[in-house]
């Protein structure tokens, strides 16, 4: 398939100058270098920064980020290379011959200190009133270099108005250090194209098109820029004050749901290494904070699989059994609100390919304010639904006007992993030491299928486990139900499952090869959409798209920092937990069966679920008024 070979269309300048090696003979070769007087052997073409870090030689950096193309702009990582008059940015300097490097010479230390002094002189704001206090790369550097006064003065008045227009993202350019990580994230990594450096010289400013508020441009709220911002210049809009207020209000019944990927990451906010699942402790903490009910979004993920899987089967039926030319295939998943806004802006003509299913967060909200309210005999007007999500786009999603089929907002507040961790700390709780406990009934059980929604490919895997079994009556033919082609971190992945010995009612699918594709990160989504437009996906049936690299475990609301390694560990934690669960298929979740018996009585994609669990989309287009 040509998709993986397709050229990334982000501009060259935004991914400057990945080190290219022209002499073929050198590829794969090793080279001897001397670093601080000691000899090392490093791969040909590796940058000085990577070579040093691989050998435990610390070089500070700021604009460098593992996920992003090189910039070489901040100059914090400069080192001395013998024979060169000027210092070299180690992040951008490829080792292609035997060189001698000094990483902490007097010239280097002095230059780094000066650069820090310069950055600090322009950095407005106090650390203790900053969301990134204790997790700020500039602050860390200042400490590392023992900055104890402002050598070149310090800015006394704010120069820019804080942009709070967005539901999800707050921009405070007074804290910006112009490392352009957000620009490289937005234009190159995600290909959304909201942020760019504007103006020139000392007036340079990261801004939006025509300096418009972020609400008015084509931001998809994915929050990836926040995850990569070294300072507090970009942050999420925090609703925790209102949530505390609701908790403290005795007339309110406050219900919280936690997304699958929270448990795999929240430990990092308490100093644990990535990859520690904290499910039980988190549930305990949420009860201690005072939430009236603690539910697992995995339940709603199972519900999503029932709806979305059924929708897929219905589309297949319409197309292949009834020959309906109107039916759109492949069906695209709709769980990722960043992806939804992306397609609404960039591919508004292709919204019919999207599943009409709401995301699990919104489905759960709708169920809570209807079925749950009935069962518990609580006036839905007094129910406050909070969703802890790895996601900043969910803050926008819950405010979409169409998300109130029950007559009430499905979800009142979207909270990120980081903000939840902050609430837990504020409640005086140290998460890792808590005893474990279970989610509340009546939605206490969830399947492993719902859990793996948190990683890229998870929705696809969960759906296939159910769809295959609905059609054939047997489990998917993969060892331990692990559909390995769905897993991994490649940007675009694909595979197929052949349906054999199908049940009578699915006779038309006998021998049918269900072809699927998975993409994460909107730059990859763009590749898939371009392939769709060019007819290359005509024989595909189901496509999973997640807006964030890695899926939800790499979401814009997750703990900072992020890196490929961190995301891999978080995904591992999720897959490991899935393995341990007694129920691993959505349709076997007893609570799911119960809700279809008691409430959604006309079944998946029936009338009631259509009203409550499905939605429609807005043709936004990309024109900025």
């Amino acid at each position: 398939m040509a998709i993986n070979a397709m050229q990334n269309r982000a501009p060259v300048a935004q991914k400057p100058h990945k080190v290219e090696i022209k002499a073929d003979a050198d590829v794969g070769a090793y080279i001897d270098v001397e670093i601080n007087g000691k000899g090392y052997t490093v791969p040909f073409g590796m940058t000085i920064l990577e070579a040093c870090r691989n050998n435990n030689i610390h070089i500070p950096s700021l604009c460098y980020h593992e996920d992003l193309c090189l910039a070489g702009a901040c100059r914090v990582c400069v080192v001395e290379v013998e024979g060169m008059r000027t210092l070299q940015a180690s992040c951008a300097y490829p080792i292609t011959n035997k060189i001698k490097i000094w990483t902490t010479s007097e010239r280097v230390r002095k230059a780094r200190r000066h650069i820090l002094d310069l950055l600090l002189s322009e950095h407005y704001g106090e650390c203790y009133s900053c969301v990134r206090n204790n997790n700020c790369e500039l602050q860390r550097l200042a400490k590392e270099y023992g900055v104890d006064f402002y050598r070149f003065g310090h800015i006394k008045e704010p120069r820019y108005e804080v942009d709070r227009s967005s539901y999800a993202i707050v921009r405070d350019m007074d804290k910006c250090v112009l490392c352009k990580r957000c620009v490289r994230t937005c234009i190159d990594l995600q290909e959304v194209g909201v942020l760019e450096a504007t103006r020139r010289g000392y007036s340079t400013l990261i801004s939006t098109f025509m300096d418009k508020p972020i609400l008015d441009v084509i931001c998809i709220n994915c929050g990836q820029c926040i995850n990569r911002c070294p300072t507090g210049a970009l942050r999420a809009k925090d609703p925790s004050d209102e949530i505390w207020k609701a908790i403290d209000d005795p007339t309110k019944h406050v219900v919280i749901q936690t997304a699958p990927s929270i448990r795999a990451a929240i430990g990092e906010e308490f100093g644990l290494p990535p990859g520690h699942s904290m499910t039980g402790q988190m549930v305990t903490a949420l009860r201690m904070i005072g939430f009236d009910r603690v539910f697992d979004t995995n339940f709603a993920a199972d519900l999503t699989i029932m709806e979305e899987g059924t929708e897929l089967l219905l589309r297949l039926k319409r197309k292949y059994l009834f020959g309906d030319p109107e039916v759109k295939l492949p069906q695209f998943t709709s769980c990722s609100p960043g992806w939804i806004k992306f397609i609404e802006h960039y591919y508004p003509e292709h919204l019919d390919y999207l599943s009409t299913c709401k995301s699990p967060q919104q489905m759960f909200g709708a169920i809570i304010k209807t079925f749950y309210a009935q069962e518990m005999q609580i006036d839905p007007a007094n129910i406050v639904t909070v969703a802890v999500m790895p996601c900043t786009a969910k803050k926008f999603e819950c405010n979409r006007p169409e998300m109130n089929a029950s007559g009430y907002k499905d979800i009142d507040y979207g909270l990120t992993t980081r903000e939840l961790a902050q609430m837990i700390k504020e409640a005086g709780i140290y998460l890792p030491e808590l005893p474990k406990s279970y989610f509340d009934e009546p939605f206490g059980n969830a399947s492993g299928a719902g859990l793996i929604f948190g990683a890229t490919g998870g929705v696809m895997e969960a759906a296939l486990r159910t769809v295959y079994e609905i059609v054939t009556g047997r489990e998917v033919p993969f060892e331990n139900l692990d559909i390995t082609p769905c897993r991994g971190m490649d940007g675009v992945r694909q595979g197929s499952v052949i349906l054999t010995d199908v049940k009578d009612e699915w006779r038309f699918l006998e021998g049918f090869e269900v072809k699927f594709m998975i993409a994460h990160g909107t730059s990859n989504a763009r590749k898939v959409m371009e392939a769709l437009i060019h007819g290359e996906l005509d024989d595909y049936h189901f496509v999973e798209i997640m807006a964030c690299p890695g899926g939800c475990i790499g979401g814009g609301g997750q703990p900072i920092p992020t890196s490929p390694e961190i995301r891999r560990k978080r995904a591992e934690a999720i897959y490991n937990e899935d393995k341990e669960l007694p129920i691993r298929k959505s349709h076997e979740n007893p609570h799911i069966k119960y809700i279809y018996e008691k409430f959604l009585v006309d079944g998946p994609c029936g009338h009631i679920s259509h009203k409550l669990l499905h939605t429609h989309y807005v043709k936004r287009g990309k024109f900025i008024v």
């Binding site: 022209k22 070489g72 230059a111």
Partner: protein, 397 residues
Amino acid sequence: MPIINDTVFFDERAHGEALEKALKMTPQEVVLEVRESGLRGRGGAGFPTGTKWMLALTAKSDKKFVVCNADEGEPGTFKDRVLLSEYTKLVLEGIVIGGYAIQAQKGFIYLRGEYAYLYEYLNDYLERMRKEKRLGKNILGTNFDFDIEIRLGSGAYVCGEETALIESLEGHRGEARNRPPFPVNTGYLGYPTIVNNVETFACAYIVISKGAQWFSKYGTEKSKGMKLISVSGDCKKPGVYEVPFGIKVKELLELVGAEDTKAVQIGGASGICVPMSEIDRNISFEDIPTGGSVIIFNQNRNMLEVLKNFMEFFVEESCGQCTPCRIGNKKLLEGVELLEEGKCSHKYLNELIELGKTMQIASKCGLGQSSPNPFISIVTNFKDEIMSNSIRGKNGY
């Protein structure tokens, strides 16, 4: 208009026909001839032209580009304007020779927006060359194809830096690239590209026409040939001068009729300020390198005002991507303002000089690396003058 000193170097009768000659040589021979001549880049940095061309010639690629850097933005420089308008043939055919030498198919002239009035003239000239088969397909009946396109700048000094220029040609903000990789490997659109100054191409023309031997007769050991100098400021005869490398500042001052001189700024805003005590120094890559700008200040000039003018220039003209240049120049400018107000302590002044030294070694490109030069040299050489301001209140006291 310009005053060209009487030499054979830029005497039109002595130009000869370099293009004919070059096309009879192999590309290697052309490059070796240029290398032999010791010609170094005339934009100011002085990279050996032959070496640059050799690297581009040996780079493997199906496409290569030649760029003529006519973004002459250094304050006090106007010799390229004169070359382009009065010695057009040397420049344009020099570009063709460069194209032949590295086996490129296309050349650009990146003409600064301020010189837009030359656009029509140059385009007509190119058209004439095409008609005369000196440009386009099968140049002079050989199988060498090469064409030149003129691109206008849009008012950004930093685009004179070669990688920023390439970024600009590619439709981007003129922000300098990381090096390595160098443009000779990875230049315009990722293809091997040589970027040379207008004067360098004219020199290459002369080198081919008159031979490397002849060319290297002039100048010093490491700075071969003649150099065009744009002279402005306090003197009787401002204009473009052609002088051999190695000329003493003193000699130049006599030549242009400078009297009552206090200081000479050599190399433009990014150059250094030479006080009268140092006018025995010479203009060459060994001593005081320059792209060609010489600005003369007489005894009545206030050096702090001069410095302020330079620093304001850099604060606005920095591309703004790297920290030392973006913020550093602003701090130096603020330092000048403190000096004006008489509020800059000697300690802080030294702090700023140290900052300037950091900028010289830690900035990403030549702009940031050279922008502190005037600050350091003026502050050092005219310390008594610039430290003499008293603290001024609103009404002065």
